[in-house]
């Protein structure tokens, strides 16, 4: 069945609306998610449809936004909480890392935490160092959390719906510069499974693994590489935790070369995690070292010329692929 064109932000809002209609325990709270429709307009229309009882504007109190989400999730609700910019999770890290992620295990498994945490990340908008970070590895390192990072409107909707129905705390990391992207999104009900990567293009020469907005850069790089005669296989992990290593391993068994692209910093960013898991599982399939394309180890600068130099770009992906092919 064909769909209609939806933007990424519309897909997010539609996922929330569908799940709120489906299950009265689902509600959303966060800063400016109500009448204002969210800082990135990703909750637009929800307030009018569901009212202030279920679409709740909160004070700027990130710790209690998420902590209250935990308390509500433990006692019969299925909250969606929004942290406007991912950088602001620093204000809420106890509620995420010490509470949401750990109560199930610490309490002997007798509880569930059906909590969805939505947040927006990423550089490229001139937002400077406190509104641009890619902090996903702070979350993936905490056992008990699931972490997803959709790169398309289709996945933004399907993964968010899966997150809301999941009985674990799921962090859904959206990208600020993808909110305006659009594509065909089916009207019929669908879910995108948590823990399953997408193969965006099949190829036999080299595997590019790219997350979130880096998929866009990888796609444009792939076009050029294919024109050069390099047959690229492009994988979008979609879920960072748990990472779909079956799909990644199968690809590397075929291509023997891999370039990992992630907007996080070169030190400690998620490209390292993917790379080390590849070393664990695929070392003997590799014909060349794993190439990583990541942000420089500096805060994100304000000036756009500097900013674009710090974060990965198409040219960096092309260079990474050329380097691995030359080996």
């Amino acid at each position: 069945m064909s769909g209609r064109i939806l933007t990424y932000r519309q897909a997010v809002a539609e996922a929330i609306a569908e799940e709120m209609s489906r299950d009265e325990r689902v509600f959303i709270m966060g800063e400016d998610v109500g009448k204002h429709g969210g800082a990135f307009a990703a909750t637009k229309g929800l307030f009018d449809k569901f009212g202030p009882g279920r679409v709740k504007d909160t004070p700027i109190s990130e710790s209690v936004i998420i902590g209250a989400g935990v308390g509500a999730a433990l006692t019969g609700m299925r909250p969606i909480v929004e942290i406007m910019y991912m950088d602001f999770i620093c204000m809420a890290m106890d509620s995420i890392a010490n509470q949401a992620a750990k109560v199930k295990y610490m309490f002997g498994g007798h509880v569930h935490v059906p909590l969805t945490i939505r947040t927006a990340f990423g550089a490229g908008r001139g937002n400077a160092a406190q509104h641009s970070q890619s902090l996903e590895t702070w979350l993936t390192l905490i056992p008990g959390l699931l972490v997803v990072m959709p790169s398309t409107p289709y996945d933004a909707k399907g993964l968010l719906k899966s997150a809301i129905r999941n009985d674990n705390p799921v962090v859904v990391i959206e990208n600020k510069l993808l909110y305006g992207e659009s594509e065909d999104v089916p009207e019929a009900e669908y879910l995108v499974p948590i823990g399953k990567a997408a193969i965006r293009r099949e190829g036999k020469d080299v595997t590019i693994i790219a997350t979130s907005r880096m998929c866009k850069f990888a796609e444009s790089a792939t076009k050029k590489l294919v024109e050069e005669g390099i047959d690229v296989e492009l994988i979008d992990p979609r879920t960072l935790k748990p990472l779909d290593m079956d799909t990644i391993s199968a690809s590397i068994a075929k291509t023997h070369r891999v370039v990992v692209v992630n907007e996080g910093h070169s030190t400690g960013g998620f490209s390292n995690e993917i790379s080390s898991k590849i070393m664990d599982r695929c070392f003997y399939d590799l014909d060349a070292p794993v190439m990583r394309v990541a942000s420089e180890d500096v805060p994100i600068p304000y000036n756009s010329i500097l900013e674009n130099e710090v974060i990965p770009a198409e040219k960096d992906i092309l260079a990474g692929v050329h380097k691995t092919i030359e080996v």
């Binding site: 209690v64 902590g67 006692t75 909250p79 509470q99 498994g109 056992p143 948590i194």
Partner: protein, 324 residues
């Protein structure tokens, strides 16, 4: 004379306070014997607060507790055997040996957990209060916190939101005078009364070592919160007789100060009261003490005989399983 508890309730609460005290005393012995890992924070000296507040909650009400949480759990209906089994890290403990002293919880008893993070329980209580309100029930949530947590940002975020949304949360401020080694006068500017007023939350202050005073103040606070008017802050002034953790050298306070508070022991005060009122004589309460001590001894024996958790359980309960 203020209001008085009826004889039956008084004896019931006395027994609860003894259960808490003897449970904590048993932990001291187990700790000294090297049978308890990590650290343990004892509730000795504060029993009148758990017994006066938490014990009168309904079974379907919620509590959110602290790292010094054994008393709250026992007052909410926790049983000695799985409590002590958990503190010994055994498979039959409340948390299958994975939580320990600082994380005892039971969703069926309405305990949303002791909490190893100072102030970590307050946002959770706000969420539990929000949940009750959204589900249209009259359940309330009592969140205990100390003078240490009073100065955390969480506490202010939580009081603000609870008041703003008129959530059924009773903020139970147990001022036990010390945040680890730092006395309240060196950590807290202003007062909790003024802070509560700042958030437009009603407030009461009681002698936290006086069971009846605590009980009746809590009765009023609980009624207010349950009526849907919003949160309430209740302060009980008390004293942590033991150190921050068991084994603390307590160089930050004098023996004289501790001895003064020992003279104000909440359990001795109840024993004096029951004799004065003719509810029990000394022989009666000695018999009760023996009975409770025996329960605790049996629970210790049970806990020590409990199996260790299976190694495979390491990987259990990290996640709730989901359909891919």
């Amino acid at each position: 004379m203020g209001k008085q508890l009826d004889a039956e309730t008084l004896v019931d609460r006395y027994k609860l306070m003894l259960r808490i005290r003897f449970h904590e005393e048993a932990i001291k012995i187990l700790f000294t014997q090297g049978k308890i890992g990590g650290t343990t924070h004892l509730y000795i000296g504060q029993e009148a607060i758990a017994a006066g507040v938490v014990a009168q909650l309904r079974k379907d009400d919620f509590i959110s507790s602290t790292h010094r949480g054994h008393g709250h759990m026992l007052a909410k209906g926790g049983e000695l055997k799985p409590m002590l089994a958990e503190i010994l890290g055994r498979a039959d403990g409340y948390c299958k040996g994975k939580g320990g002293s600082m994380h005892i919880a039971s969703i069926t008893l309405g305990n949303l957990g002791a909490n190893g993070i100072v102030s970590g329980g307050l946002p959770i209580a706000v969420g539990s209060g929000l949940s009750a309100k959204m589900r249209g029930t009259d359940q309330i949530t009592v969140v205990s916190f100390g003078d240490g947590a009073a100065n955390e940002g969480n506490t202010h975020e939580s009081m603000n939101l609870a008041s703003l949304w008129k959530l059924p949360v009773l903020f139970l401020f147990e001022n036990n005078r010390y945040a680890v080694s730092t006395e309240t006068s060196r950590s807290m500017a202003g007062s909790m009364e003024k802070r509560a007023a700042g958030y437009d939350i009603p407030f009461s202050l009681v002698d936290g070592n006086d069971l009846e005073a605590v009980h009746f103040a809590a009765e009023d606070a609980i009624a207010y919160v349950r009526s849907g008017k919003g949160p309430f802050v209740m302060q009980g002034d008390t004293y942590r007789i033991e150190g921050h953790y068991y084994g603390d050298a307590m160089v930050y306070r004098t023996t004289e100060e501790v001895d003064t508070w020992r003279m104000n022991d909440p359990i001795q005060r109840v024993e004096k009261l029951v004799v004065e009122r003719g509810v029990l004589n000394e022989t009666d309460y000695q018999a009760i003490r023996n009975e409770i001590q025996q329960q605790v001894d049996e629970a210790v024996a049970f806990a020590e005989a409990c199996p260790q958790p299976a190694i495979e359980s390491i990987f259990e309960d990290v996640y709730t399983e989901w359909q891919a």
